[in-house]
């Protein structure tokens, strides 16, 4: 048996090639000899179990990879030649794994066990994300639809003129909400497939900022949040798609309003910074945990599901912001202090 491991009935050159191959494969490969010692532990296995091969090789599997289920299957393959496959959780590194364990006969009549370990964590996370998204969107669409249905039924049953007017207004409002959501979804799909065409032209960011604040003023007032615009006296012009940049401002303000309690403050401002321009939206809201910061601009990402339920968002607003800003050659950033507030920054080259 060589230090590197693999059965000694394979010649050295072949052994080297096996190990090189094993290290290049993206699934974890672990070989255990008839005495229960790990003889090969490839790079993917190192990554999955957070154990360096140097520590694992030469020892019993359970001593370094603390996974009862995997160990049990390896033991069954060694002692009884049982082949098995299962999905297991590795709590040490919080991974979801698909393991396949096979006996591997040797020329001396005994057998090794080979475990093939596939990391399903990313796939599981993605599935959860999609499920959350689907349920989120369905919820967002169903709520206004239900309201519309009830109002239509009431109208059909006959309602007085005043009720009719109120209901028709509400129906118009709810359908607008649904259209906006569907538009958001389509926008994002277009941006992600690179099919969105920007209508470039001169844009004055100060005007844009004031307009966005004006558009959200009534809502902010209803929520008891002080919303203001911070615009310097000199015009700040850039070349861009006015409608899309307006959407950036609206989405950032919308996000800030969602995450700021009543009595808080939200400020949207624009300014020149060095040779570029900056859009900033500050809030005095609940803040964002540090570990969530890198994911904020990912599609469907919601910081805290329990919190998000109360303030229903689709999880698309910030992803759209990021796409639009990047299409303009700019970059987005979020700064935050828990329970103190957050700042979202978009920087554009002039």
């Amino acid at each position: 048996m060589s230090a590197a491991g693999v059965p000694n009935d394979i010649d050295a050159a072949l052994q080297q090639r096996f190990l090189a191959l094993a290290h290049a494969v993206p699934v974890g490969i672990i070989v255990v000899n008839p005495r229960g010692r790990v003889t090969a532990f490839n790079s993917a296995a190192e990554e999955i179990f957070a154990v360096p091969a140097a520590r694992a090789v030469g020892r019993a599997l359970i001593e370094t990879v603390r996974n009862f289920e995997l160990d049990r299957r390896v033991a069954a393959a060694l002692s009884q030649g049982i082949e098995s496959a299962a999905e297991v959780t590795h709590v040490g590194t919080e991974r979801r794994l698909r393991v396949k364990v096979m006996p591997l006969g040797r020329s001396d009549g005994r057998r090794d066990a080979v475990a093939i370990v596939e990391d399903l964590t990313a796939l599981r996370d993605l599935t959860e994300l999609r499920r959350d998204f689907v349920s989120n969107v369905s919820h967002e669409l169903r709520t206004p639809l239900t309201a519309v249905k009830i109002m239509v039924e009431t109208l059909q049953a006959g309602a007085d003129a005043q009720a009719q007017a109120t209901f028709l207004d509400s129906i118009a409002h709810e359908t607008d909400r649904m259209i906006a959501l569907v538009e958001e979804l389509l926008d994002l799909a277009r941006m992600e497939s690179g099919r969105l065409q920007l209508a470039m032209g001169p844009v004055e960011l100060g005007d844009l900022c004031r307009a966005a604040v004006a558009a959200q003023a009534a809502r902010a007032k209803g929520l008891g949040i002080e919303l203001s615009a911070g615009v310097p006296p000199a015009p700040l012009s850039m070349v861009g798609d006015r409608d899309k940049l307006f959407q950036v401002m609206l989405n950032l303000i919308d996000n800030a309003l969602r995450n700021t309690p009543s009595g808080g403050r939200v400020t949207a401002s624009v300014r020149a910074v060095g040779d570029g321009l900056e859009i900033a939206v500050d809030d005095t809201g609940c803040g964002i945990p540090v570990d969530a910061l890198p994911h904020l601009f990912e599609r469907f990402f919601v910081v805290d599901r329990s919190r998000a339920r109360n303030i229903s968002g689709t999880g698309l607003g910030l992803a759209i912001v990021k796409h639009i800003v990047e299409l303009h050659g700019g970059s987005v950033m979020a700064l935050s202090e828990l329970n103190a507030g957050s700042q979202f920054l978009c920087r554009f080259p002039r």
């Binding site: 001593e63 603390r66 009862f68 160990d71 329990s306």
Partner: protein, 243 residues
Amino acid sequence: MGRENFHRILEETQQDVLRMGSLVEEAIAKAVDALTRADIALADEILRFDDYIDDLNVLIESNCLNLLALQQPMASDLRVIAAMLDIVIDLERIGDHACDIAQITKNLGSEPPLKPLVDIPKMAVLAREMVRESLDAFANRDAALAHAVPPKDDEVDRLYRKIFRELIEIMIKDPTAISRGSNLILVASYLERIADHSTNICERVVYTVEGVPKNLKRSVVEFKTAIAQADEMLHGHEKTGSQ
């Protein structure tokens, strides 16, 4: 039993201790996961887990006793066997606490959550880490690691006190929350105990490696102080209530 056989059984028994440890660690993770998601089926799974843990416990104990009786081991081998006999007791208790948490999940059933659980999962992550590292220390005879684990208990204790205080406050304000609140306090106290058990394991590892028994215990969470604080809050509340 030849000498070679003795070492083989000793080694296998140590591996069984690690197997038991991995089951126990998974049981804690699943128990808190089940609690967080109110997943009764998962809670049931943990209760079944405990049979495996108990089987291993019996196997390890009888192997240790056989080794002691038949081989009269000396020095470090003797200390390893003595340590294993102690460690399995701690692991078994940890497994029981995981079951206790699973049982609470079942008791709470579909009652609406008091509040999103944040600190209890944090405590669980720390407690699990301590269990894992204490067993790493055992597997690698790593006294330095065994010394490094117990200080982590301070953070577990801090979270415990925080959870205790918060839940008492919630229960004072809303008496309908008492059943859920007191159950969650129990969960936190189980996690706190789990962390203490991993400190015990570290003590055994240090004894095995260094040959000198050491007390690595951190300050015990003062139940009396915590209860006194709760009393104070309660009385404060009554006073304001009567004004």
